[in-house]
Subunit: 675 residues, 3 copies
């Protein structure tokens, strides 16, 4: 959608003109040019500056700054400023302040601090978006609209309680149905009146982050909270569209962010954008997976890298510098996975408050003679060289991993079987094994089209929502390969167990019956013993966490437990189903097992690795207009060699023609236009 407008991948980031004087603005515009910066996100936290009381607005400073940017050739990502309400609003309209999970009414402070069901918040936030859109609808500098900022958090106030009851009425119609889906006959929680329902928090059904006595209400409250914020977003979205039907509107997401169901949100975003903040020791595969999730939110549409730090963060425990080359490498990693912008938080560092030690393009020293600035400028120059080559190019995968927020919420609120079960970690284990093979992967929702994939993996698909089992059966029947794991098929969309034998609705597809589920102590392990060689899989492997005790009901048993009283029971099965097959991994295996298993399946199914390369050398392909661009990223500090089999082509940054054995620098990046 953006390709028509700009000749290249956008480059820039957040800038807060309200923190600086005009002299500084001018100096900064000069440096933007030095760095090749052509987009600035402004007005993210200016609500208090723009609106000084209920009826008084001050836009002149913003007019002026946007004009300055425009004159300097910098485009604008215009935020709506509603992510932190003004102090006066909190004082005069306390309904805007949240009540936290401990039932405490907050006072003014922080950000992301407005109750999503506050009438005051909704009124003034919508009004702000309306005024901004009206004022800037014709401004040629504005490329993208950025609603609020990093939506998140939760609220348990009385307005939320009332809104929750309405949400429930809309969803379930009757209180009888609410009682049924929450199984309130347990512990005598039957409701006879809607007003008896109170938000689940640490004063009612919860204790701590992941503990609930009633998962049903907790799950619905998580959905309600996500929906409430989505309503806030939509109020602003629609206010902008009213004035500018063709506006490109987004809000910046945060990868694997638990509180908001981004698949639901993305339907209402014109383009996905997100803020990527890996730690120094975050595995590259994890960041890659997050990019793939963001790309998956809108079925493969390229996204904006809205924020990353040029060097360090401030909010981690130990805020390491990004090593020389790493910012560039991670920027290209985003691009390789579908980003069409490279943007920073922040273009200039604040001098006070909690982000003053967050890295910036322009550091406190204020000039361009810094390592960080030089690296930024070098990347700006390279992106200029690449121009529009990769813009709008897509990523094509034959392998998909199912990811589902409802499953995440339900799984981790579960009381038992093990506190050590972490959904994203399980997903990452499977992702990482494919990453190590350089197999391209999509992260998809249960609503996505399954038929375009050869292999679908659904780690810990605890919750099977209506239609999902049927879709998976159809996918497999038609020749697809399906892989799932322990603790899958347990509950329906309301976290009610599917009785009659686990894995419930997946039982037919998988051809197994899970009789029991054993939770292992952290120090305990069992063994996966292969019955015979399966590809490179042979001998035995460690497993742990949970062990399903299962019986084959037709599935082929490929490996058995090596220990404990369930020694000899199946731990790896494959069920032929129609023209396809459905695999079940009954425990949490070590890495080498997953490498072997997914390696075997990929080879059997002809799912290609993009590159033969040593550990830490990643490959991804984007394609466009019949051309393919192979991106190669060396996450090692040392140079590495990789081998191009049949692929070859010009490396676009150096202009060299690469084929056969190639050397890549430490933290290096190659992008080949394949010929």
């Amino acid at each position: 959608m953006i390709s028509g407008k700009l000749p290249k991948v956008f480059y820039g980031g957040d800038y807060n003109p309200e923190q600086w004087d005009d002299t500084t603005h001018q100096e900064d515009l000069r440096m933007f040019q030095l760095a090749g910066i052509d987009i600035a996100t402004v007005n993210v936290f200016s609500w208090a500056k723009i609106q000084s009381d209920e009826i008084t607005y001050h836009f002149e400073w913003l007019d002026q700054f946007i004009d300055s940017l425009h004159e300097s050739g910098v485009f604008v990502c215009l935020a709506t400023s509603t992510a932190a309400h003004p102090a006066w609003m909190a004082t005069r309209y306390p309904d805007i302040l949240r009540v936290d999970a401990d039932g405490r009414k907050r006072k003014f402070g922080g950000r992301h601090n407005s109750c999503p069901n506050s009438p005051t918040y909704r009124k003034y936030a919508e009004s702000m978006a309306d005024r901004l859109a009206e004022r800037y609808k014709n401004h040629p500098a504005i490329l993208v609209w950025h609603v609020s900022n990093e939506y998140g958090g939760d609220c348990y106030c009385d307005n939320c309680a009332a809104a929750f009851r309405v949400w429930l009425k809309q969803k379930y119609g009757t209180l009888e149905e609410v009682n049924r889906v929450w199984n309130t006959s347990f512990w005598g929680h039957t409701f006879y009146d809607w007003n008896e329902i109170v938000p689940p928090n640490n004063l009612s059904e919860h204790w701590g982050e992941n503990h609930s006595t009633f998962q049903g209400i907790s799950l619905d409250y998580a959905r309600f909270n996500s929906d409430s914020m989505l309503e806030c977003y939509l109020l602003e979205y629609n206010a902008i569209k009213k004035h500018i039907p063709e506006a490109v509107i987004t809000t910046n997401l945060m990868g694997f962010f638990k509180q908001l169901d981004y698949f639901k949100w993305a339907k209402h975003m014109d383009i996905v954008s997100w803020d990527s903040y890996p730690r120094a020791n975050t595995p590259p595969s994890y960041t890659a997976m997050a990019h793939d999730l963001m790309r998956g939110l809108k079925d493969g549409q390229p996204f904006m890298l809205m924020e990353q730090t040029p060097s360090q963060q401030n909010w981690q425990a130990y805020n390491s510098l990004k090593r020389p080359g790493v910012m560039r490498l991670w920027s290209y990693q985003a691009v390789a996975h579908g980003a069409d912008t490279v943007m920073f938080f922040q273009l200039r560092r604040s001098i006070g408050a909690c982000e003053k030690f967050h890295g910036a393009v322009i550091e406190h020293v204020g000039h361009e003679n810094t390592r960080v600035f030089r690296e930024v400028a070098q990347l700006g120059s390279e992106l200029g060289t690449l121009g529009n080559t990769l813009l709008d190019a897509t990523v094509s995968a034959k392998v998909a991993i199912l990811f589902d927020w409802d499953n995440w919420w339900a799984l981790e609120k579960s009381s038992g079987p093990s506190v050590a079960l972490n959904y994203v970690d399980q997903v990452h284990k499977y992702y990482a094994a494919l990453f190590r093979r350089n197999v391209q992967v999509d992260l998809i929702s249960v609503e996505s089209d399954f038929q375009k994939y050869d292999l679908i993996i659904a780690p810990v698909l605890y919750m099977v929502k209506p239609g999902t089992a049927e879709k998976l059966e159809q996918f497999t029947e038609h020749g697809g390969t399906f892989v799932t794991t322990f603790f899958s098929g347990i509950v329906n969309e309301n976290d009610l167990v599917t009785t009659g034998g686990y894995p419930g609705k997946l039982r037919k597809l998988l051809g197994v019956w899970i009789e029991e589920i054993d939770a292992l102590l952290p120090e305990s392990r069992n063994r996966i013993v292969l019955k015979e060689q399966v590809g490179a899989l042979q001998g035995e492997y460690e497993c742990g966490l949970l062990c399903d005790l299962l019986h084959s009901e037709g599935a082929e048993v490929l490996a058995e437990y090596g220990d404990d009283f369930y020694q000899g029971m199946p731990v790896l099965t494959r069920n032929r189903f129609g023209q396809g097959e459905a695999w079940y991994v009954a425990s949490d295996p070590e890495e080498a097992f997953l490498d072997g298993l997914l390696g075997y399946i990929c080879e059997e199914k002809g799912i290609p690795s993009l590159l033969r390369a040593p550990a830490g050398v990643e490959a991804s392909v984007r394609s466009k207009d019949g051309k393919s661009y192979l991106c190669i990223l060396n996450h090692n500090a040392q140079k590495q060699n990789y081998h191009l089999d049949e692929q070859k082509g010009h490396e676009l940054l150096s202009g060299e023609f690469l084929e056969g054995d190639v050397t890549i620098e430490g933290y290096g990046f190659h992008v080949l236009e394949l010929s």
Copy 2:
């Protein structure tokens, strides 16, 4: 008391008919029969179902289900449903909601959630018991009444504050006396008016679980809280007795549960019942000790095992399956220690909310073809075979361990000398040494009859209440052996120090004066050096935690410290007192020392081991009508051999006659009728 009614040990557990439809009920009754189940606890959490508003009650479904049970030959343990109030009650009468230790008014949610001093709770709970008793007083299926469920928790609301002041007036008469016993001259806490007294919590005298600035008020509040709940229990108890004077009434206790003084409660229970939930790694000796405490609550009267899980729990961090045979083994362990029922939570698994992953006789799969069901049915069949053999049989011990809730509360609220001091752990150390010798032990209160024992052990008897020292002196004078430890004899019943030299009122009996008490860092140790051999005790042993620096005032010094500036001071003393002797263990020794010490004492005093057996093979004897039944339990996974010295007899389950060397299977159980 129950022996007259049923021909065998009851077998069954909790069942929640309100969660299931009639078809399921019928199917479950069929499976109960398969499993030999003849008792079901019902109506535990049905308050909201029975009472839909202040004046409307619905008993028909319960009538019907109790009739069904009766028709199927299943007896009923009828709960009163008052352990979780209905949501409507919380909405309309907020006084029923607790205020927690942080001063936060709770909202509706969870269970065990009613303020024990709430007029609303007391009114409707009593009324419910009254109505149930009136309705079911003549029902032939009802065997036992089960008031509420697992009483516990605490409340700090204004109603509790007012009730606390009344409780204090009743106990102390005047405010002057309150000031005296709480030592309020410290830190100027003198009260001039009853209304100045507020409940001690994290807003006043406490911070965290075990920290108080005023132990006196904390101790009294713990007593008051226990008494308040006991009053709630008694309201229901008396309401039932009004209609059914002969009713057998209980409430399910929880072993070493700190908040309630079960010795005080048990006086008002017709039979003790309790819920036993060992973790996978709980030592068998700990579970045995808990059974012995429950048996001790009513001076040796057999008790009900009201709840245990057939396999896993849901609320532990890592919910392991009970290994094959373990459920049977632990059931027999309960019986061996005095249980006259074997009952489960739960007979059928819920499909929603927090206990859906708690094990059940009938699992989610819903049929009888599971390992768990088979083990339950096997045990049911065996209990049928045993019939009434063990029913009402008693356990006879020559060794008692003193246990005291006031001591527990006071000790662990103490500021200093060491946060590592844990009362139950200390008690367990002595218990475990006796357990390893298969010496039968009673856990008794300070009010129990001491004279029937040869040996009384009182680990960390920090608080010596009025009369206790005198009773112990009398016991010893008449030939008894008394053993106590470091940090004993420090305070009176109000946690006021007995001045004039530790161990205060025990000083004469023990013949020692404790001058100082050293607290060791966790990594520090001292040594116990024997002066000469004492039985098997010789050489030296490690000790730690606390080291009393003591002087003998007549006691014989058997061992001295090996290190530090108090090297050479006594650490183990024995004082001849009348015809008996009083031992003092001045530090926290390693296991081998306690094995040696208690081994020596038992041998000297002729206190028998029930069995010569390898580690993990436990023995207990129950006796009845002149016959003794030797129960042998192998807690090891592997088979073991044990040796019967003079004992021999028929093993009742196999019918074999056993004598001499015997092999017992892993997790095996033998019960010999001694001849």
Copy 3:
């Protein structure tokens, strides 16, 4: 100031007559005499006893007890009793109760529990001081006035909020200036009305102890809280002075106590007094440093050791006994560093509430035949022998370490770069290196006179307040040596970054520019590689925590980083500046490096070690009337030898003349009158 009154160092401690009857009082007076005790601190927590309602006061018991003391030759340190308000006051005037950091209104309990801005507290506390001063102004026993006790804690109530706004108005004049210094343009926190400002706590800008989203308001609230308590102190101080202009008034401080800016407080104290409670494993250098800080508060004036425990504490996790000799050793350590009293908490142990397990001169046993009492009496006798020898003697140092509370607050509220950064630990590292050399050190404030020192060390001088850089430049210019470290010169007095290049205002003096700051993971290290030998420094050393990446701008580079991408960058620099030099240590080095560095500087600058002695043998000198007293303390349990070079003289306790090689007992103390 006290020297005129008493012939010797005072010896005594806290005594609470209100906890004991007359018989006990008489017995205690007898024992005081045995122990050489000549001062008692009374009335610390008697508010409730003295004042039983708004208008009724009871002083008779206090009159009588003070007379008793006086008759026994014991002087009085008279406390004002306002550190814990009476219960009746809390009930009738809830404004006296604090609101905690979580926004919770406290209830009656504990101590140090009054809101410092409570009108009720201020009224009655001032009135109490007034009445006490009026009553006892002519009593010959009263030597020192002790206002309240251990001021501390914080409050966030509405009275504090209102007072905070007034404080801000006084400090900043306009709201515009507040907005500027707090940088409220960040996150749109602009205030348009004073009433919009709320105290920063866990409901607004904070989460947890050391996390704030707005450092500016947090820093000012810390100052405001310290000032509010200081105002309370001053109300009492002035009330006393009104009646007794010559009164010697103090309040007991607590060493490195973060909440109160003691440099500011000490200006209003006639003499500094403090409570010293080292743990068993506190390094002797840490205690020494705390003494030096207390001495530094009033520019070297001797101070009172107001409290220490004769043996154990009660509030530590593991309350070890002080080993024989340690109480004496630590008492003399205080004296060696400038104490003119040795006083205990407590003279007699309470029998109830949380301090009953805190050590006392008179233990629960109640007589004098204890180790603890004997050690107390021995020390009392020795102090008698020493008489007035050391009284009012001063300590003279050529080395000063800068310590600053504002810096402490700002540094540890910082979000980034590393949570592992601890100000006092960093100060202690430099102190300890000098301690190991037996170099005398002063701890001074930024307002102190710098010119009397040869060497000033300012570890992590993150905040450079107005005038400080200039003072340091002047100091160095005139030949002084200045040492500072990483993360210095970053912000101004409002925690606003000094832009233009770190270390900001120190850049010129240090001759370096810090381009970046790397935070290391806890397990990571870098290396300091010396370019050539610097004194004993050679080869390489470990460093960690933070690594500044710096460029010399004229400073000589003495060592470089050994690893990582900044290998070869300077890590130790020296800048010639006028006649002096300014050193920069760019990372957190291991101990041996600091020994080498400070050893080199001391040798170069002719800063003497007081003694050549093995590890753990400490030396300090106090001087008076032209005479010097060398105090030597052996912190080892074993005896040690030390060597007197040119020093020699009579050891005052033994009378021996010492020179050359000397042996000192384990935990021994020597005091030589140097000849």
